[in-house]
């Protein structure tokens, strides 16, 4: 952590320097780098503007006005009397470090409207900034979880998913391992990796929701956001459910913050009332108003698909592929996937191939787009593009979520079109697949693999082309402003 501080006191011969020394000691002890400007009688040596620019947070320990405060505008600030700097330097440093750690949230930047560089953001840009806050905190979970699952497939074979969670693979039925502490003994290191990766993945949506709400309403947003995200997982609402949960939670906390409590009440407001009301209201909304309709829609979709028997195979592939690409592990995706697994069990192997091709395409196509037109993507998106290659190759559609959650209106159409193309082409070639997952790792189990690969290429190309066209044609100034700001704060 890089810190800068200004110390000053009325006479400028004693406390100014004691505070400087104490802050330097405390920062050193805590492992931070600090530069202190002593605005005292020995003449202030101004901080190098480059040092200020690089600082993660600012500390003022001053009894008199800090000179040229503007230099620090927009940085997380801890401010106190000079004696606090002397007596409680460690606290001030810890507080500054905590504020700096929070700072990736654009809330910190937004909370400092005085910042001369930050243009005022319109509602569209704000929304994008909130979404990108959630995505940026979610990314490590995607990378860790996705790569662990991919490695588990490589080490343990594609059946590792069924060894751990139970189910049938290639005609062998596995019992789920109920006691996770037995995983290493019964499923080996691959089983352990699959389990850990799965747990990391299960946090995708709660973290996304929690930090969207955090972006909107600061730390009070985290609890209702995470709980709303957990409910999105529980009701199978997928990442779109998580986005909804985050926005709902953030909006509720923002509204609650507007309630002006009197002095005596304000403490209990922050500690009890806001968390209680926001968590319940978000949870209720997600469970009752969103969860139930989603479950009904899923049941209807499942029945509808079952009634489609006899429809043209290519059309069915197109439809299932579009569903796979729509919400990347969400409710619609799940209906299509389970339809494929069901067909697999009843002996129709073409549908599973189409479904897997369509599920691999979204991360692959978007990864391709970050390479073809890097300037259309933010820095974090370009980074997640690298992991997306691997996740796509292993049929982990969630690799596309960071893109879709940050910019749903342009990315989801792209993944839908790419998925539809892949599904249709795979069906047209009559490719088959005997496994319910695994990606490139189950290529030996694919009938007519050439056709399957063509389907992947066609789908990835379609997703990439569509994303590039949409992001180019419809790149609003607001989004650019949000991206600029996000670059600074993430």
């Amino acid at each position: 952590m890089k810190l800068v501080a200004v110390t000053s006191c009325p006479t400028g011969i004693a406390h100014t320097y004691m505070a400087a020394e104490a802050l330097e000691q405390a920062a050193k002890d805590a492992g931070h780098e600090i530069h202190v400007e002593t605005q005292g009688a020995a003449g202030a040596e101004p901080l190098d503007p480059a040092v200020i620019a690089a600082a993660d947070a600012v500390i003022f320990a001053a009894d008199v006005n800090v000179r040229e405060k503007d230099r620090f505008a927009g940085k997380p600030l801890v401010s106190g009397p000079v004696k606090r700097g002397i007596n409680h330097a460690a606290d001030m440093v810890a507080e500054a470090a905590a504020k700096a750690a929070e700072a990736p949230a654009p809330a910190a930047a937004a909370a400092a409207p005085a910042a001369p560089a930050g243009p005022k953001l319109g509602p569209g840009a704000k929304l994008r900034l909130w979404l990108m806050t959630g995505v940026s905190y979610m990314l490590p979970f995607v990378a860790a979880g996705g790569i662990l699952i991919a490695l588990a497939f490589v080490i343990g074979g594609a059946e590792i998913a069924n060894v751990v969670n139970g189910g049938t693979f290639e005609g062998v039925t596995y019992e789920a391992i109920a006691d996770p502490t037995r995983l290493l003994a019964e499923a080996g290191i691959a089983g352990v990796m699959f389990y850990i990766g799965g747990l990391a993945f299960s946090m995708l949506v709660p973290i996304l929701a929690g930090f969207i709400a955090f972006g909107m309403a600061d730390r009070m947003g985290i609890a209702p956001g995470v709980v709303g995200g957990l409910i999105a997982v529980a009701v199978g609402a997928g990442f779109l459910g998580g986005v909804a949960a985050g926005l709902i939670a953030g909006a509720i906390v923002m509204a609650l913050k507007l309630v002006k409590a009197n002095q005596a009440f304000s403490g209990i407001m922050r500690i009890v009332i806001v968390p209680l009301v926001s968590v319940f209201a978000t949870g209720f909304t997600m469970l009752v108003l969103i969860g139930r309709p989603i479950a009904e829609a899923q049941a209807w979709l499942t029945d509808w698909l079952a009634g489609l028997s006899g429809v043209d195979a290519v059309l069915l592939g197109l439809l299932l592929g579009a569903m796979m690409g729509f919400d990347l592990g969400g409710p619609v995706n799940k209906v299509a996937y389970l339809f494929g697994v069901g067909a697999l069990a009843s002996g129709d192997l073409t549908i599973m191939a189409a479904v897997m091709a369509a599920g691999m395409v979204p991360p692959l196509g978007l990864a391709l787009a970050t390479v073809v037109r890097p300037r259309l993507f933010s820095q974090p998106e370009r980074q997640s593009g690298k992991a997306a290659w691997l996740l796509g190759a292993f049929f982990i559609s969630e690799g596309a979520i960071p893109f879709a959650a940050a910019d749903p209106l342009r990315v989801i159409p792209s993944t839908v079109i790419g998925g539809a193309a892949a599904g249709a082409v795979s069906m047209a070639f009559g490719s088959t697949l005997r496994a319910p997952h695994g990606g490139v790792w189950v290529l030996p189990l694919i009938g007519n693999p050439g056709g399957f690969v063509v389907a992947l290429l066609a789908g990835a190309a379609a997703t990439c082309l569509c994303a590039v066209v949409l992001k180019t044609a419809w790149k609003s100034k607001a989004a650019a402003a949000a991206d600029d700001q996000a670059l600074v704060t993430i």
């Binding site: 006479t11 004693a14 004691m18 009688a41 020995a42 007596n87």
Partner: protein, 148 residues
């Protein structure tokens, strides 16, 4: 430039009913050494600073100080009080009292020395050494060597 402090400016048995008495006792030493020309005038300047904000620091330190026209050379008088003198710190009286006298028009060289003294006061081992100093000469040497 003369040393910031000499043995004459150290009082290891500082007494005084309150911070003003203790400060006055130390100021008298500065005056006797010719470093302060007008004791009353200097004390008034110190009191003015003290009234803005007490100069006591947690950990048993009091640092009354002033930049004053009545000071001829940047100086320090150091007193050690067994009973402690209240300098308004949150955690109780100070047993180490540093009276810092800075000339009003002092160049920044002087101020730099005082600044490094102030920085030293934050260090536990420096304070501990002062508490253990056997006599005035040792305390003065300790302080001067710390600033060398």
């Amino acid at each position: 430039m003369s040393d910031l402090i000499t043995a004459d400016l150290v009082d290891l048995d500082l007494t005084g009913a309150d911070r003003h008495a203790a400060t006055a006792a130390l100021a008298a030493r500065l005056a006797a050494a010719g470093r302060v020309t007008d004791t009353e005038g200097f004390l008034a300047d110190v009191r003015a600073r003290e009234e803005q904000m007490p100069t006591g620091i947690e950990g048993g330190i009091g640092i009354p100080h002033a930049r004053s026209a009545h000071v001829t050379a940047p100086s320090l008088a150091f007193g050690r009080s067994a009973a402690g003198v209240d300098f308004g710190a949150d955690d109780g009286p100070a047993d180490l009292v540093f009276l810092i006298a800075a000339p009003a028009g002092g160049g920044s060289d002087h101020m730099t020395i005082l600044a490094s003294l102030a920085r030293k006061l934050v260090h536990q081992d420096f304070k501990a050494a002062l508490r253990d100093a056997p006599d005035a000469a040792a305390a003065a040497a300790l302080i001067n060597s710390a600033l060398a």
